[in-house]
Structure formats: C-alpha cells, structure tokens
Symmetry: C3
C-alpha cells in the first residue's frame, strides 16, 4: 500500500530506539490489518528487535558483539576505511537488514517487551541512516 | 489477507518443530499464491528454518550456540532474571524474529529438508510462546 | 502479485552476487511500488546483503565466519555428510534465509553500496541453489 523513507540520526555505536517513529507511520497509514517491513539501506548498521525494559540488556548486547568481532583483528584485509569498518560489516551480516512485523487493529503487534532498534556499528558522530518502511494491507 | 495468532507450548531450551502448525494455517487460508510471514513476540526465543532430517543437526546447533554464548559470562550486567536470560537475548539477536516464506499452489515453498522451528533459549518448563502469522495474497 | 523460481549456479564456498538477476525480475514484473521477498530453499546456503564495492569485504566475511565456525569441531555429532556440512548449517542459522526489499519507482531500494548475495557454505563444485522471489504490489 505504501513505501515511506525514514531518516534516523545516529552518533556513534549503539542501539537507537526507533519504535515510536515506526509506530507513528503505521498509525498515519490508517491500515488496520497488514504487514510492516522495515529495510535499512546500509551495510555497517543493522536492525534489531530486543528488550526495551532494562537498558543493561542493550549495553550487554553491544559489549558482547564488540568482543566477538573486535577491531584490529589480523584477519581483516579491508582496512582502508578505519578499524571500525570491517567489524561493522561483520556485525551487520550477523544481524538483520530487514524486519517484518504484522499490524493488527491499526498497530504493530510487538510483544510487551519488544522495541525496534537501529544498531549503529560505526563510531563516527552525527550521521544519518536511511530506512524504507513498506506497509502492506491485509 | 489475514493475521492469525498462534501459540506454541515449550518446555526448556531447544528447537520446537512448528512446520505442521504453520502449514495447516496456510492451507486453511485457501490462498494459492502469496507470502507467509511469521513473527515471534518475544526477545528470548527466536525463529529458525533448518534441516529436519537428522535430529543431530538440531542438537549440534543448540550445543554450538550454548558454547558461543555461555551462561555466567562476567561481561553480563543484566543478571536479575537468571543466568539464562542475557544469553537468551543474545541468541535471539543472532537468529531471526521473523521469517517470510512464499506460498505456491496453496502450500509453503519450503525446500525438501527445511523445517520451521521455534528456538526456545530459556530453561523454564511449561511456557507458552506467541506468534503472529501474516498471509499476503499474490 | 507473483512468485518466481530462480536458480543460481554455485561452485564452492563464497558470496555469489545475484543483484542483477533479482533486479531484472523486479523490472520485468512492471511493479512500481511494492515489496520483493527472496527465500532460499536450502539449509547449508543463505542470503546476505553486503557491501559490493571492495571485494576484500567479501573475503574477510568468509574468512571470519570460517574461523568462528570451523570444520572438524569435536562438538559436532552430525558428521555423516562431510566436514563442511554441520558448519554450513550453523552458518546458515546465523545469517538469513529470507530478505525483503521495498520497490520504489520500479526498482529495488538498495543503498548505494548494497549488493544481494547468495552465500554458499559448502565446498562442492557445480551445484544449483533454488530461490523463490515473491513480489507484492503496493
């Protein structure tokens, strides 16, 4: 039924809660029953649905993935774009480039503790990340 | 065309085969050509499509992920909900919260060896996990 | 609006760029606004969207995942189909079985540096992998 471009301001590594932004677009679409699909147009940031209650969950997720995919690993040959670039690509490959969430009674059917996050994997400050939100009716 | 809530009974860590339950809903929908999307409303259980032939594959997947994401890791600060909680969030982040499978000739287009699984990451016995199945026509 | 079966020739481990093949089907569908969903019917190969500029990114991704999920790990009990089989299942579980990409102005809304890849995890030469492409209008 529609595609909408969304922009998210980020400033360094971490999880950015975009639940309200996505929910607002779903509400504006007026669609009662359907499917919302979110797609990120980047390869060094990704999408995640995770617990929104205790911020420590987000800290632990970030620290765990940083330990699994460290910077300055001698394995990397793609090193021209900085020490955080190749780890960012690997982290993006291990997480999601798209998320699909059914819509019922005009709202996203997220579980009670589920939030939608943009996971930024690079350090640079003051960047914009681009998403496309597709909403199908039915 | 429709959204349907599904409930899956689980009892501790492991892969629960939900292929028949999903296939049955697709069949009942009467849709010949389309797209089925499954969404899980939790952050400590996830969805997976994997080999359904040799049960050893499922055992190895579970044991491998348990070794990659162990309990009682000193990195974790989110520890209030038990030693299996933060590992469950990480495992869910590394696997899928949604799956989309095309429908042709009235059936899911799964490969010969593909089964759909709910991957429970927590130990507790006798829980129910909630899914939403969205089916689009065309 | 349609489902289309696609076949991809592979010959050993690595990332196979299928962007042009998918884009061509989207173009042929004549759909201006919608959603393309790609599904792979296998459990030892998977789908990935990653950087298409520097081939070293693809080499590093492959080498990193091979180190994380090595062959001949004593943990594996599913060993009858060769040393590359169980690692292939684990790698497929950690990456994607489906991808959904919005369509705008008749084209996939991939970011500037995004390519669509089939990630083959097995060594055998001269195989065919089967995909289904679903395109929804709207």
């Amino acid at each position: 039924m529609m595609n909408k471009q969304l922009s998210v301001a980020v400033s360094g590594q971490g999880l950015y809660d975009i639940t309200a932004q996505v929910a607002s677009e779903v509400s504006r679409s007026g669609i009662e029953d359907g499917l919302a699909t979110l797609f990120i147009q980047h390869t060094s940031a990704s999408l995640l649905i995770q617990e929104n209650a205790d911020p420590a969950v987000q800290t632990d997720l970030k620290n765990w993935l940083n330990r699994l995919v460290p910077e300055n690993d001698l394995l990397y040959t793609h090193v021209d774009e900085g020490p955080d670039d190749m780890p960012a690509h690997i982290k993006a490959a291990l997480t999601a480039v798209n998320l699909s969430i059914p819509i019922m009674q005009g709202a996203l059917t997220l579980g009670v503790w589920q939030g939608i996050y943009l996971w930024e994997h690079r350090h640079r400050q003051g960047a914009q990340r681009q998403l496309i939100l597709n909403i199908q009716s039915g």
